[in-house]
């Protein structure tokens, strides 16, 4: 009889757990990957990918907006279950969170009148986003940097001449270049494929949820097989990510 009650309690606990929505971290200002649309709703490649994954896994999901620099920590501490943010997989991040299979491969883009300073120090600040691999790259090389909180601040910094250059992920960089104001800045772009600034982008998962990691991997495979990944790709990017 005791066993029966224990079993019932377990079932009830599991049911309660199953009913809770998964908490998904996204960033809100990285067009076209993750942003608030004109209708006030969160959208973007990452957001729609997260929605598709939740549907595939048949779970309810609740989006939590975070700054890029917070994402790894909130995932690592289990404050969210997973984050669909374009995080490059780095050894440092991998030591804190779990990563799914790669979603796509990313590059960085150097926006400046000068060529990318492979060895020398930039003479004036370089704009980077707080918490990005680009910031980590600049820090490692003791670059003078203007650390911004969001991608949207970048354009203002660039156009105002506050910074000499910007180092961004290729997807958000594209958005800056496509902006009508970009032409007047006189900046040029340069795609950077250095290992520290390029690589695989993946979904980060709480280290407490290895089972969820497995489910997300299966979900990603399914989305890439059934064409939904490509439909989301078409919706937000002019080129194929895969």
């Amino acid at each position: 009889m005791r066993l029966f009650f224990a079993f019932c309690l377990l079932l009830a606990a599991l049911g309660a757990r199953a009913a809770e929505p998964l908490r998904v971290a996204v960033v809100g200002n990285a067009i076209p990957m993750s942003y608030v649309g004109d209708n006030g709703q969160l959208t973007g490649f990452n957001v729609e990918l997260a929605r598709a994954l939740c549907e595939t896994l048949e779970v309810r999901c609740e989006f939590k907006l975070h700054q890029l620099n917070e994402v790894v920590e909130v995932v690592a501490k289990g404050q969210v279950d997973f984050a669909v943010v374009s995080l490059l997989v780095t050894p440092e991040r991998r030591s804190k969170v779990l990563f799914t299979k790669p979603v796509y491969r990313s590059l960085s883009v150097w926006l400046s009148r000068q060529p990318f300073p492979a060895a020398a120090l930039p003479t004036r600040p370089v704009a980077v986003v707080q918490g990005s691999v680009q910031q980590a790259y600049g820090l490692a090389r003791q670059w003078p940097m203007e650390v911004l909180n969001t991608h949207t601040e970048l354009f203002d910094a660039l156009t105002s001449g506050q910074v000499q250059a910007a180092l961004l992920p290729m997807t958000t960089g594209m958005n800056v270049i496509r902006d009508g104001r970009f032409g007047s800045t006189g900046l040029a772009y340069q795609l950077i494929g250095e290992p520290a600034l390029s690589g695989e982008v993946a979904i980060s998962v709480s280290p407490k949820l290895p089972r969820l990691l497995e489910q997300l991997n299966q979900g990603l495979d399914k989305l890439k097989r059934n064409g939904r990944f490509d439909r989301i790709n078409t919706e937000f990017l002019p080129f194929r990510l895969q």
């Binding site: 491969r105 590059l107 883009v109 290729m170 960089g173 594209m174 270049i177 496509r178 970009f182 032409g183 040029a188 772009y189 795609l191 494929g193 890439k224 097989r225 064409g227 490509d230 002019p238 080129f239 194929r240 895969q242």
Partner: protein, 435 residues
């Protein structure tokens, strides 16, 4: 009235035997069938595994590859579109977003990894990069891009065609595998059907048919027939052979029992000295004969006979000589009378007769023939002597009277014959049945 001598059972043809038991035989057959089933199902299983492997390859490699090819084609088309857009814009700064998309596409790892695509895209990228900086664009510039754009379109077609071709090849391979599996299924059904038929045939020929034969033979045994042999060349397991042996032994035993029964019957009904019926059996037979005559209203005559002066033969020549005389008289009775006549040793030197379907006159002729036959020749006994012997007979036509009455009347008539001088026949006066 002779009993048939017991017949020896015919030589039974034993079934062909190998000493192999039915259990062993059918275990071996079942083993062969099982081995066949396992072999065929294993064969089919391997093909199904191959099919499963092909489907897995299709799902995990071919379909993703086809999707990847589709993505490459989309990138090629995007590159053409962005190239057209780039050339349509007048200022180099306006061309930058399109050039950026083109550069990102060229840097895509999937593009870089594809040996067919990478050089063509690189070439187109270089052309566009040069044209993007140039203003104004000449017709020659546009023509140069048109060539590159055409190359991109052809490459897109090639990738699509190759992807479809590969998919078709996989589908064809899968279809052939399914065909093989269907064919194997057919073979499997045929082999299993044939195996089952062979099994049933073996069961029928080695067990069911011999068992049916045994059943018929046992039914025959009940009717007194010898068990027939199995048809020549019939193969039967050792158990069937054992049953046949047992049946032969049973048949022999039944034959011996029948002989003993008949011997016992003969002993019970026969006088041991003369071989004639004894008085008890005669009485049974006489009753039956009289009843039958009464039922059919046919005539029947009864007689009692007594050897004349037989006591003096015993007294002067001894009982052995007397026995010889009785045996000789019995022999003459058997040889003189008809098969249908019933006769017996009624007492010491007394004999009784029933002549069925015979009226008094005819019976008188028969009795007289017997009397003459006995009186005609002396009977040789030990010591070279011959004993002349005669018979006195009393006859009575029954005419529906009870047996004891008829016997009594015949006896009285026989005494009258004795009194009248012996070696003669006297007829009792007819007496009707008071009933």
């Amino acid at each position: 009235m002779r009993h048939p001598a017991p017949q020896p059972p015919p030589q039974n043809t034993k079934p062909t035997r190998t000493g192999l038991s039915a259990g062993l035989l059918f275990s071996a057959l079942a083993g062969v069938v099982l081995a066949l089933v396992l072999a065929i199902e294993g064969w089919r299983g391997l093909e199904q595994l191959r099919l499963l492997e092909q489907l897995t390859v299709m799902q995990q490699r071919t379909i993703p590859d086809a999707l990847q090819a589709q993505r490459l084609v989309r990138n090629l088309e995007t590159m053409r579109l962005e190239g057209e857009r780039l050339l349509a814009l007048p200022a180099p700064v306006e061309r930058m977003p399109s050039m950026y998309v083109i550069d990102v596409i060229v840097e895509n790892p999937t593009v870089q990894a594809d040996g067919r695509v990478a050089p063509v895209l690189k070439q187109a990228q270089q052309v566009l990069r040069a044209l993007a900086r140039k203003t104004p664009l000449t017709n020659a510039d546009r023509s140069q891009w048109a060539d590159e754009s055409q190359a991109l379109a052809r490459l897109a077609d090639r990738i699509t065609a190759e992807s479809i071709e590969r998919f078709n090849a996989e589908v064809e391979q899968t279809r052939r595998s399914v065909d093989r599996n269907l064919w194997q299924l057919g073979v499997s059904v045929v082999v299993l059907t044939v195996s089952l038929l062979c099994f049933v045939l073996a069961l029928y020929s080695t067990l069911i048919r011999p068992l049916r034969h045994i059943s018929d033979a046992l039914a025959g045994l009940r009717r007194g027939q010898h068990p027939p042999p199995l048809p020549p060349g019939t193969w039967a397991p050792s158990e069937i052979g054992d049953v046949h042996q047992a049946m032969d032994q049973l048949d022999l035993l039944m034959q011996e029992n029948e002989t003993i029964r008949k011997d016992l019957l003969t002993s019970a009904n026969t006088d041991s000295l003369t071989g004639l019926f004894n008085r008890r059996h005669f009485m049974e037979q006489a009753h039956l004969a009289l009843a039958r005559a009464k039922r059919t209203h046919s005539p029947v005559t009864l007689a009692i006979a007594d050897l004349d002066h037989f006591k003096s033969v015993n007294d002067t020549l001894g009982h052995a000589a007397g026995d010889l005389v009785l045996k000789a008289v019995a022999q003459r009775i058997r040889s003189t009378l008809r098969e249908t006549d019933i006769h017996c040793r009624y007492g010491g030197e007394e004999f009784a007769f029933v002549f069925p379907d015979t009226a008094l006159a005819e019976a008188g002729l028969l009795a007289n023939r017997l009397r003459e036959s006995i009186a005609a020749t002396a009977i040789p006994v030990d010591g070279g002597q011959s004993v002349p012997i005669s018979l006195s007979l009393g006859l009575v036509e029954v005419l529906g009277m009870p047996l004891d009455v008829a016997l009594n009347q015949a006896d009285q008539a026989m005494y009258r014959a004795k009194v009248a001088g012996r070696n003669r026949i006297e007829v009792a006066l007819p007496v009707t049945d008071p009933a």
